[in-house]
Amino acid sequence: MKLKNWALLVILGLLLAVLAACGGDDTEESGESAESAEGTEETAEEPAEEGEQVLNFINGDAIPSMDPSMATDEYGFQFIGSTMEGLYRLDENSEPVEGIATDHEVSDDGLTWTFNLREDATWSNGDPVTAHDFVYAWQRAVDPATGSEYGPYMMGGVIKNAVAVNSGEAELDELGVTAEDDYTLVVELENPTPYFESLTSFGTFMPLNEEFVEEQGDDFATSTDTLLFNGPYTLENWTSTANEWDLVKNESYWDADTVQLDRINHVVVKDPTTSVRLYEEGSVDRAGISSDLVDQYSTHEDYAVTPETSVFYLKLNQKRSDELANENVRHAIARAFDKDALVNEILNNGSIVANGLVPADFTPMPETGEDFREVSGDLMTYDVEAAQEYWETALEELGTDTVELELLGGDTETSKVMNEYIANQLSTNLPGLEVTLKNVPFEQRLDADTAQDYDIQVAGWGPDYLDPYTFLSLWVTDGGNNKMSYSNEEYDALLEEAQTTLATDNPARYENFLEAENILFEDAAIAPIYQSAMAQLISPKVEGVFVNPFGATYEYKWASVGSAE
């Protein structure tokens, strides 16, 4: 009997050997059939040639669109930002520095901006970049036939007639952008817009070569071959479903001398654990650390936390709930949960407590350069005693001793824990308050928001341009994103004034913003929770990569490879 078992084992072993050989053949075949993808295959481990500066990065997903008019997401804007250049580009301090435009003049009323363009900028096919390219691109972005989402969003209310053109009430050429000559671009604005200079660095405002785009037709921006570049890098080996691609130094870029990196290889990895293991293996030079991995890696020598400019808060809907229409109830809720504990124990990824609306390290005050957040100070902090005082007054006013409210939040793992924590804190610290939880997917939360079908909602906002107005404008009466029936005439007036009569006087505008933010929290309109951050492992090799406060997340123009060790 024993002998037979041994014989079987030997047979098994032999079969395994045969299988291994067969397996080898198997892939050779499929390797051939997948020839088209072959060229991009081993980029992640490609050894750098002598003296070549190469970095390897992970991207969280494929790039859905490289068409500046159609892009809506982080990754689209990231790679449009690296491969294209608009009028201006943001530097290390988020200050606009020259791009295709060398300088500009603004008319006294702040409505007409005349940009002087450089004459040495070219597209990657050799054509010069001219003012006509901007006119074409901007018209295309608001043309209803394009079906762009960010076009009307970014340009509507900013560029003259953008809304009218988008809804078909005005012709394309009525859009407030014209080419005076090949190298002079005149832009007419709807209202004076002090932050317009930095806005022109955003992906939607990139120029497009009309002849090329029309020639490509429906194929435009679906692969490397159907794209033209005018930025620091070109995008190589890319198709719209590609999982690997490279940024390669663009030798025809007007400022190519500044660009030090030869190549940045990218590969899509979604799993956080896999990302970290690839980092430790040395395949990639940067990896994100998810909340559950922070404890394990926070002592790693390459661990770094980069603050972001998204702010999260509780929206307190005054329409559905009579209780939330009571100011004292809102004051109580906004003070009744421990934000420190939430940030350090639940999020645990470098996020910081938010005690206001406009994020920290986002906009400096125009004259002093101090951070807006610091000047405005802590407007809504965790304070159980004060919260309970407000709560008692509120209950008296309402003539009740129990209040039931629903908390609407996201359904990702982290959100669920966070929602539960906040609900628990509220009902513990405010006696008589009962909070029911409703965790739903993002889309459903948006629907509930639009219909104002919620009491309290965990929501957040990331900036679309470099100005406090991007956050403060959320809460003007009947604003498109208000959706909680907050209304304060004084608040509306301050913001209105900032965008109209004070529009050309930036220091005065910021005074208005400070005052408006103050009013927002005197009314306890929202309850700030936290400002997000990215926890990452970043190799010391990576130097000169800046993080932008809006638009493309990373700026690679000035990046280089430092000492490897």
């Binding site: 079987l8 993808a37 997401d73 209803p144 009307p152 988008n166 896999t274 395949s283 928001d449």
Partner: protein
Amino acid sequence: MVRYILRRVMYMLITLFIIATLSFFLMKLLPGSPLNAEDKLSEEQQAIVLEKYGLNDPIPVQYVNYLGGLVQGDLGISFAFSNTPVTDILMDRIGPSAQLGAQALVVGTILGVLLGLIAAISHNGFLDYTSTVIAVLGTSIPNFVFAGLLQYVFAAELEWFPVALWGSFEHSILPTIALMIFPMATAARFVRTEMVEVLGSDFITTARAKGVSEPGIVFKHGLRNALIPLVTVIGPMAVSLMTGSMVIEQIFAIPGIGEQFVNSVMVNDYPTIMGTTLMFAALFIGIILIIDLLYGLIDPRIRISGGDS
């Protein structure tokens, strides 16, 4: 035979039509819209964008339009990947998934058959229990746990294989192992049960009495009969393996179709959802037909007739 196949193909088309209809209307019940900046646009602005994709039409009209395109072999343009035909997405993504699935199926089934065979021969012996334990573990441990473990031990710690990514044959080894556990365990369980039964039946006793050698009995008379029920499960298993595993693809960062499918549902990319569903359905129905035809070859007791009954 030809008549039978023709009839089956016709049924296949009807089934596909029903699947297309059902999934189309179910998909429309998904909350949300394919817009990405829904929270930033006014309702009028949203309507302008939706107009371009024909999403402002009444749903029955959209359905007729979709079927019209489908009949002409046009699966539409993806919403999520701008200007990219769904066919391109499917073609790009099916390759890695199919390769992994095929490798896992072949290796897994062969190992599973061997495991089952060993177990059956040493019925109630040590090897039987060992292989049963392996089979039970294989079916009950979720493959993401197994994949994570493989990655940790063989890539991160021992550094025998790359941690993840797609490219050379080496990259496919760990995901193949993670993926093959299930077919291996399933095959082992089936073969063991069948073999024990077959080896105890009269014709085996007859064969032994006639002096057929032991390997002859096991492989020629036993195994051939024990494999018949396995064929039934292998078909559907092949489809589910080759259409990709979202979990395995995500852990090993493989650009496959499984993950793409889940993603397209998350972002309401209607044309991609429909295209992927229909492709999976067509594969599934096709394989079932092939298996039905195979039965006739493997098992003489099953006859395919013109089908008047």
